[in-house]
């Protein structure tokens, strides 16, 4: 069974790669896209700099290296988006292209198909991250120290936990048949609330309370703490345990929601409606 699942995942990756490289403009652009998001924030930071230093930013975070802060946020945020879009949007594309029913007729569970759809997205995001890091370092300069392996180990449980979230988003797409808005808003809100591009200590109290309840916040915070030595919300080890707990619970709950939604859609017969 596992072998069959792996074969299916491999087939999905190959298909996604084929579609991706069929549109070379898209493929080239994906490499440079993060620069377009980072450049405006760089210029925003310039407009606040005193003698080339982000003094005000240091008061909140303990570091003046705003660019490193942003690059790390953008890298982690890239992985969050890859999972959410890779899983949620794939269903909508299949609905539009009229192939979702035939895919569901294969003896491969939906969750395996969704994992397959997310993997190519993650591969491209990883390439993106490397390219972004290099280009931003070249253009704007930043320093992230030498504890990269430790940061990667912290990132892994967070990435796995995101699959649970991805399953939940995919279930929502199946029920509402409206992928763009759901994924766009969830992704954006998650990034804002978990502090992708700013320390959450700037948030008003009511919103900060929500941020502190999101495990992703501790992912961003821990990785920045490791790489930049910035002030963390909780001790690093506690943040790591929160991420591991999030991984176990998130995947379990997301999976249960997806299975129930899949059954509901099959019963109602509205799989391909859009």
């Amino acid at each position: 069974m596992v072998k069959n699942y792996l074969l299916a995942i491999w087939a999905i990756i190959k298909k996604d790669a084929k579609i991706f490289f069929r549109y070379p403009v898209n493929a080239i652009f994906r490499i440079f896209e993060p620069i377009i998001w980072i450049a405006p924030v760089y210029f925003l930071a310039l407009s606040f700099q005193i003698n080339g230093e982000n003094i005000g930013f240091h008061e909140y975070t303990g570091t003046t290296d705003f660019m490193a802060f942003i690059v790390i946020g953008s890298i982690v945020g890239g992985f969050v988006s890859a999972v959410l879009w890779g899983m949620g949007f794939s269903l909508k594309s299949e609905m539009d292209a009229g192939v979702i029913e035939s895919n569901w007729l294969t003896p491969i569970p939906l969750w395996v198909q969704l994992i397959g759809r997310s993997i190519f997205s993650l591969i491209i995001t990883s390439l993106n991250v490397l390219m972004t890091g290099f280009l931003v370092w070249l253009l704007f300069g930043f320093n992230i120290g030498n504890r990269i392996l430790e940061a990667l180990i912290t990132l892994i449980p967070m990435l796995i936990a995101l699959y649970g979230l991805g399953f939940g988003i995919a279930a929502l797409v199946l029920i509402t048949n409206n992928a763009n808005n759901i994924i766009d808003i969830s992704n954006f809100l998650l990034n804002i609330l978990s502090g992708e591009s700013f320390p959450i200590t700037v948030l008003p109290r009511g919103i900060m309370f929500i941020s502190l309840a999101l495990p992703l916040t501790y992912g961003y915070d821990a990785i920045r703490g490791i790489l930049l030595g910035s002030n963390t919300l909780l001790p690093l080890n506690i943040e790591r345990w929160i991420l591991i707990g999030f991984m176990i619970l998130g995947v379990f709950i997301g999976y249960r929601i997806l299975v129930r939604t899949e059954k509901h859609c099959k019963t109602m017969g509205n799989i391909g409606f859009h």
Partner: protein, 272 residues
């Protein structure tokens, strides 16, 4: 031609109303989109607003909230226009309905005019909703004349939709909407000073900014809304918007006609 455009308008309205969740993003985006920039600006200002004086030196104001809200609203308008023009033709290619629409004995540009009418209506509602929400959530103050701000938006329409026509042609060539939208809106984000004063850009980038009509729309709106500028103060921007609108509309028509002839010759209209 107008009948065709009106039919497209009606169809787009029908599709939009078929998905009743459309109003949720319209309510949510104006509030949440600027938040990332606003909180970043707050973090950059420092706990005691240490760095805010530096921002004031460049932007002429310490009120970065109003400054950014104006920029992000125009950005969201352009973004929505780009998605409408980029994805409408593309979705029809994917669904296989583009060729049947193209066979209708109407000028093909009426398809784009129909999309434009639909988009203008949606954008108008969006801008009104945004201003109301800004008042509620961000204490947005309108110092200048709201009618003058409305005039700036009206004068910007030909430039915005001319750009949309060029964009629709590009998407038909490249057969890829997403990356094209990301590229054009990315250029706007960097060069038009959506969230920061253009004074921080290197000279060569500022020169490019001068050629983008939206830079002038944003500048004029900021001066009217935040500083209470009157018509005489922004006449340079108004002239630039009128001239660039005429140029972009003409370019848009030429690009669309050329592209439709090309895809018919090569038989690639429905390819995606």
């Amino acid at each position: 031609m107008l009948n065709g455009a009106f039919a497209v308008f009606k169809r787009e309205m029908k599709i939009m109303l078929r998905y009743p969740s459309w109003f949720i993003p319209m309510l949510i985006w104006p509030v949440i989109f600027p938040l990332g920039y606003l909180f970043t600006a707050k973090a950059l200002s420092g706990t005691g607003n240490t760095s805010l004086a530096q921002f004031q030196n460049f932007a002429g104001t310490t009120d970065y909230t109003t400054y950014m809200l104006i920029g992000t609203t125009i950005w969201m308008w352009i973004n929505s226009m780009l998605w409408t023009f980029g994805s409408s033709l593309r979705v029809e290619q994917v669904r296989g309905t583009l060729e049947s629409n193209w066979l209708c004995p109407i000028p093909k540009v009426s398809l784009l005019i129909g999309y434009s009418l639909f988009q203008i209506l949606i954008s108008f509602v969006f801008i009104v909703v945004s201003v109301l929400e800004f008042k509620i959530f961000f204490n947005f103050e309108f110092i200048g004349n709201p009618l003058l701000a409305f005039l700036i938006i009206i004068v910007s329409i030909p430039a915005v939709y001319g750009l949309g026509f060029v964009f629709a042609s590009l998407v038909m060539w490249a057969k890829e909407a997403n990356s094209m939208v990301f590229m054009v809106r990315g250029i706007m984000t960097i060069f038009c000073g959506i969230t920061y004063p253009l004074e921080v850009l290197p000279n060569w980038m500022r020169n490019i900014s001068e050629f983008i009509p939206m830079t002038h729309s944003i500048n004029a709106l900021r001066r009217v809304i935040s500083s209470g500028a009157v018509l005489v103060d922004i006449k340079r921007e108004i002239y630039i918007l009128i001239i660039s609108g005429a140029i972009l509309m003409t370019l848009g028509m030429i690009a669309f006609n050329y592209t439709q002839n090309k895809v018919k010759e090569t038989g690639t209209l429905g390819h995606y």
